[in-house]
Amino acid sequence: MFKIVEKRLLADNIYLLRVEAPRVARSAQPGQFVIVRVDEQGERVPLTIADYDVESGLVTIVIQTIGVSTRKMCALEEGDSLADFVGPLGNPSEFVNLSAEELQRRHYLFVAGGVGTAPVYPQAKWLNEHGAKVDVIIGAKTASLLIYTDEMAKVCDNLYIATDDGSRGFKGMVTAKIKELVETEGKQYDECVAIGPMIMMKFVTLTTREYSLPTTVSLNALMVDGTGMCGACRVSVDGKTRFTCVDGPEFDGHKVDFDEAMRRQAMYRTQESEANEKHEHKCNCYGK
């Protein structure tokens, strides 16, 4: 069992949990994820790592309540425990293998969308600590859905906020902000890293392709075991089938077949929404 030592509501339906998982905390690197199971009946849910601390043995995850399992997770309180918390899974971001000199020469642009902002944080933090220049765009529909803005501001050179309705920062999509930075402000980046909803990552890669800006994306494919056994997470990259859990989760965004990836992500949507309705019904019954 893995104890929750801190729980915070970050935005509508988005929670932060800090969990005691010393073995995971000791091995985690930027770009990796965990699989969490709330209880004996729960699904194995892949979630990105938002932060980790070797000394305290704590790992931070950020969860958006979408399905039954994530709602059950977010219904837990500090002091409660998660049944399973396994990781770190997937490969660390490629930049962790670069030399100190190379890192100091490089300028990164991170594009974070929604709950995908959480996994950008440890990457930006790591690069910032290692002397790279880091700009971050955080995008959301509206200001109340923004997360990690204060934390992020501390680990990057320039933080840009973009909201669809203009309630905070730049009014418009993250792609328009990228365009402004590159075309109007003349920014030169060595690499773009986009993490967020599939649809956002798709359009970011379409935008950065115009500037021949190498772009890494982190895919949140469906998974069961997360160790290479099931193949649920397969994705077409450069026309080849790859497993997100063992070959990824980060891939060259310009080579990912996003349309297929989005379709595959929706594979269990019918069952999931049925389960959600049932869960809601149950919760209402308990309330009475």
Partner: protein
């Protein structure tokens, strides 16, 4: 004459009824049936069954004790060579091993060795009959990677020798393929697998779930930081294979591993569990091994019309004969000499069918089986909404990538000697991680050999 008694048939759940539930198909022998069946054994001077058993269980000796009604003694005889009789009695391919070489099988039916082994194993679980002799603790630590058949067998032997054994399991449940792969209706999880594991706990074996060696920890960190004298790798088969045909990434195409893991490990068939599973109305399973049979029978139980598509003929099906027989009884359709060439999708990207070609059998290939050849102009479509690929696996690269100096072969399997020694000192391996996908009994045998080699290695180091 003992051999005039016909083979005692085993009681089974009615085929039509069982095709709708996940209860065990075969009920097994009771004591009376077991003794009667045991009386058929000729107690051969030169028992061919023993030679044909991958772990050389003294079969005539244990059957003799069953005949005498001394089931505890029978259990002790099996325990000398096998640590998982309740499991192997259920899942071993007896027809190509012990029973396949039984003298009685030449003119009639062989002794039901598998069913007798299962009876003794179950009796032992019920009555605590396994009187394992355990040596005093010797203070040496051994780590086992994976809690499948090879890991459990290795752990069991080492614990009996007095080692301090910890098993690391990547998933949340113990048992490896016994839990995620083989379905409940063939191998009950709580009644059998959990109890076999509990008996290892009684021997002092420690288990840590949710630990992926190669990610959470490494083999080097186990040996350098956590003080393990030796490591046994029993990490299993690995990544599911796909055919590489058009349409394979459509929604509705899954690997047998995924389908079975959702059903078995994640209990997707049970209402109270949250994991979704998609079966549709008609399921085509591609492949002819035990995993294919498990997948197709699971799909049937979840309410689909279920079809097996296999490129060779029925004689070449690698699955256990009993599973094929049970599958047919349950109404599974077998389309033999048929091979898919593409998966067909609808305009939303979901499977609507599969295009196949007819095959004929040509010259024998390197495996000795006649290789299938495509019949020209034989394409036809089969309607379905789910396609399950049961084509075997390729090795998981994780341990190779994260363990310096651990050699693998051309296919990516870990290179290990007959005794399980790898290219890394103190690191041993066995089971599917070494051989590629094989059987429970072979994995168990490899685990036991490695336990012996680990004991010798640590003693020599002292």
């Amino acid at each position: 004459m003992a051999n005039k008694i016909p083979r005692v048939s085993v009681r089974e759940q009615d085929a039509r009824q069982r095709a709708t539930n996940f209860e065990e198909v075969c009920y097994g022998y009771n004591a009376e049936e077991a003794r009667l069946e045991a009386s058929r054994c000729l107690n051969c001077k030169n028992p061919r069954c023993v030679a044909a058993c991958p772990v050389n269980i003294n079969i005539p000796a244990f059957i003799g004790k069953v005949n005498d009604g001394d089931f505890a003694a029978a259990a002790s005889i099996i325990a000398e060579d096998s640590s998982l009789p309740s499991i192997c009695g259920r899942v071993c391919p007896q027809e190509t091993q012990c029973e396949g070489s039984c003298i009685l099988g030449i003119k009639g039916e062989p002794v039901a060795i598998g069913k007798l082994e299962r009876f003794v194993g179950d009796w032992s679980l019920e009555n605590g009959g396994k009187s394992a002799v355990q040596a005093d603790a010797n203070g040496h630590k051994v780590a086992i990677i994976g809690s499948g058949p090879s890991g459990l067998a290795c752990a069991s032997d080492l614990a009996k020798m007095g080692y301090d054994v910890t098993v690391f399991e990547a998933l949340h449940k113990l048992g490896g393929v016994l839990v995620y792969g083989i379905p409940e209706f063939r191998l009950p999880k709580e009644k059998i697998v959990a109890r076999e594991i509990a008996s290892l706990r009684d021997l002092g074996v420690k288990f840590e779930t949710d630990v992926v060696v190669g990610r959470t920890i490494t083999i080097d960190s186990l040996m350098e930081d956590e003080g393990f004298d030796a490591v046994f790798i029993g990490s299993g088969a690995g990544l599911p294979r796909f055919m590489g045909i058009e349409g394979e990434n459509l929604n509705g195409v899954v690997s047998a591993n995924e389908f079975l893991t959702r059903a078995n490990l994640m209990r997707a068939f049970a209402e109270e569990y949250d994991t979704p599973i998609y079966v549709g109305k008609r399921v085509v399973v591609v492949g002819g091994g035990n995993v294919a049979m498990d997948a197709v029978r699971t799909a049937k139980r979840l309410g689909a019309d279920a079809v097996i598509v296999y490129r060779r003929s029925e004689a070449e099906l690698p699955a256990r004969v009993e599973e094929v027989h049970h599958a047919k009884e349950e109404g599974i359709v077998f389309k033999m000499l048929t091979n898919p060439v593409r998966v067909l999708g609808d305009d939303k990207g979901w499977v609507r069918g599969i295009t196949c070609v007819e095959m004929t059998l040509g010259e024998p290939d390197e495996s000795g089986r006649r290789s299938p050849v495509v019949k020209p102009d034989s394409e036809f479509d089969v309607e379905c909404d789910v396609v399950i690929m049961a084509l075997g696996t390729s090795p998981n690269p994780l341990l190779k990538q994260t363990t310096a100096g651990l050699d693998t072969d051309r296919r990516g399997c870990i290179v290990a000697s007959e005794s399980g020694a790898t290219s890394r000192q103190g690191v041993f391996a066995g089971g599917d991680a070494v051989t590629g996908a094989a059987t429970v009994i072979l994995a168990m045998g490899a685990g036991r050999k490695a336990a012996k080699a680990i004991d010798e290695y640590i003693k020599a180091k002292r």
